[in-house]
């Protein structure tokens, strides 16, 4: 009975979150499609041929997985942070808090919204990329599992940001100053084998590098890192961020006086 009721609540939050980002598709789904199409045009078609092959692949083939992953990461994150902060700001998060919905279900609901938007954006960017190159999937399982796990991870990150955010500026700080640099330096546009030794080692401390490379491995079959290390790291971060998010909800941080 308890779980049956909880599942009804989960389905409701997930539906509400999905409706939200679909309703404002001009702000949520269209911009990444346009931005990523520009990346393909500029870096793939115009500059790419001058750069030459990367890790044995044409430059546009090399950057496609990274660009798809970049879209998934930023959209998963921004969906949850903006939705949860919006719910706090408008105070309609109180609808959930006064209800008996368990905190784990609230967290799952918001994460499902982030994952939904992240994957849908990734799918749209993939379709756009097919206008510029043809994709050969090396491993469908690795491709799908890595993109799903990464989306979950960054949705949890967005949730934590949303919990701590007190004003709209706080929603933009982490994506601007942390997420974007980590993504751009995470091997989206280059192989770390091109970097000097010191920066190669330094890049290994960037978690996004593992996700981008694991996804690239799923599509191209080539990566700068060990694929199993990438899985372990992603799962470890999910466990840490998931536990921390639940702890914040249980304590009512940013929600209860």
């Amino acid at each position: 009975m308890y779980w049956e009721r909880s599942l009804v609540a989960l389905a409701t939050i997930a539906r509400k979150e999905t409706t939200r980002y679909l309703r404002i598709w001009m702000q949520t789904l269209l911009p990444p499609a346009i931005t990523m199409a520009l990346y393909f045009v500029i870096f793939g078609n115009l500059i790419g041929p001058r750069i030459g092959p990367m890790d044995g692949y044409s430059y546009i083939d090399f950057i496609v997985p990274g660009i798809i992953m970049m879209a998934v990461i930023t959209n998963s994150y921004s969906n949850v942070v903006s939705s949860f902060f919006g719910a706090k700001f408008q105070r309609h998060v109180e609808e959930l808090m006064v209800s008996p919905t368990p905190n784990a279900i609230i967290l799952l609901g918001y994460v499902s919204g982030g994952v939904g938007r992240g994957l849908l954006t990734g799918f749209i960017v993939t379709i756009v990329s097919l206008m510029f190159t043809s994709l050969q999937i090396h491993s469908l399982f690795i491709t799908c599992s890595v993109v799903l796990l990464t989306s979950i991870l960054f949705s949890l990150g967005g949730f934590i940001n949303g919990v701590f955010a007190r004003k709209f500026d706080d929603v933009a700080i982490v994506p601007t100053f942390i997420l974007t640099p980590l993504t751009y330096l995470g091997g989206v546009f280059y192989s770390i084998s091109l970097l000097p030794d010191f920066w190669q080692v330094a890049s290994l401390a960037n978690p996004v590098l593992y996700m981008v490379n694991a996804f690239r491995y799923g599509i191209l079959g080539a990566a700068d890192i060990n694929i199993w290390v990438a899985y372990a790291l992603i799962l470890l971060f999910i466990a840490i961020l998931g536990s921390f998010s639940l702890h914040l909800l249980n304590r009512g941080v940013g929600l209860r006086s």
Partner: protein, 318 residues
């Protein structure tokens, strides 16, 4: 069975502000209970703790015997809350807001539709069910929050100033609605309000809270009988130049043709009119100066009323 039971409930906010001090309060099942107090007295903090939006510093709070934190699922299923400020998603439709709330309680959407339709109809919002909530008028938004709080059929409904900013006609229709669900559905209602006539008209029992303490907790009737004096505004048939001196009846001249007279419970209006006539003052009409509860409320807060209902020196004003 107590619908709500609070024991030694205290709340101290960060920074040391003490909002509630050892509150003991029982609300019987089926009661229509008024919680009154001035701004900042602790009413909303108390409600916030009961609906778990605010964490208690110490003490116990139970809804129908279920602890609000240790047995949150059971307690919350029995509780509906109408907060003071609008807290729904302004981009959702009326129907979506009410249905979603039912689903958060684990009620399937199909089943929730019956309850949703019932309350939207009863509160006059059915025609507006597809309207986006931010486009509603203030009164409609208030009614939407009531429908949302009732959709899961709670046994205890807490309303934090539900009629604030609502016009008189709508306020009266909301009173009738609340009286009906209390009488016919057996929903226990706890109401905070600034409109004391509302509390006098609706509530069977009243608690007055001030500076985080319950300073009075009794039936509305018992509370009103403690009021020892009545003030009346008298309109005069002909103007007077100075305040008439009427023994035993304190008189205040408000204007040339209007005076205020105070009479004790053991005095009669007939005596007052007789003495006014002796003084050559003729009265053309009369009305109560203020709502009785309002008068009592102000005196209680000012510590002007002792146990026998006599006026004493104001501790606050001193």
């Amino acid at each position: 069975m107590h619908a709500l039971s609070l024991r030694k409930l205290s709340k101290t906010f960060k920074g040391g502000v003490v909002a509630l001090r050892d509150i003991d309060l029982d609300v019987e099942e089926g009661d229509f209970f008024g919680l009154l107090g001035p701004n900042g007295a602790g009413k909303s903090t108390l409600i916030g703790i009961v609906c778990t939006l605010i964490t208690r510093s110490s003490g116990e709070a139970e809804v129908f015997g279920y602890d609000i934190e240790k047995q949150a699922w059971q307690a919350k299923c029995l509780l509906g809350v109408v907060p003071q400020e609008f807290n729904f998603n302004g981009f959702e439709t009326v129907e979506q807001i009410v249905l979603n709330q039912a689903c958060y309680y684990g009620i399937r959407r199909r089943e929730a539709k019956w309850s949703c339709e019932r309350y939207l109809r009863e509160l006059g919002l059915w025609e507006k069910r597809r309207a986006v909530s931010r486009t509603l008028s203030g009164g409609m938004k208030r009614r939407l929050m009531i429908a949302r709080a009732l959709v899961h059929k709670p046994r205890l409904l807490i309303l934090d100033e539900p009629t604030a900013g609502v016009d008189i006609e709508l306020r009266r229709s909301m009173w009738r609605f609340l009286e009906r669900i209390n009488r016919e559905d057996g929903v226990t209602i706890i109401l905070t309000t600034h409109y004391l006539e509302e509390a006098e008209s609706l509530c069977r029992n009243i608690a007055i809270i001030d500076e985080g303490r319950i300073i009075e907790n009794t039936s509305t009737e018992a509370l009103l009988t403690r009021l020892n004096t009545h003030a009346f505004i008298l309109d005069l048939a002909s103007p007077i130049a100075r305040t008439p001196d009427i023994p035993d009846f304190p008189i205040k001249r408000l204007s040339d043709s209007r005076i205020e007279a105070e009479i004790r419970r053991d005095q009669s209006l007939t005596d007052l009119f007789a003495k006014l006539a002796e003084a050559g003052v003729r009265v053309s009409s009369m009305k109560n100066k203020a709502n009785r509860l309002e008068e009592l409320f102000i005196r209680l807060l000012d510590n002007k009323l002792d146990d026998e209902g006599r006026q004493t020196v104001s501790a606050r004003g001193a």
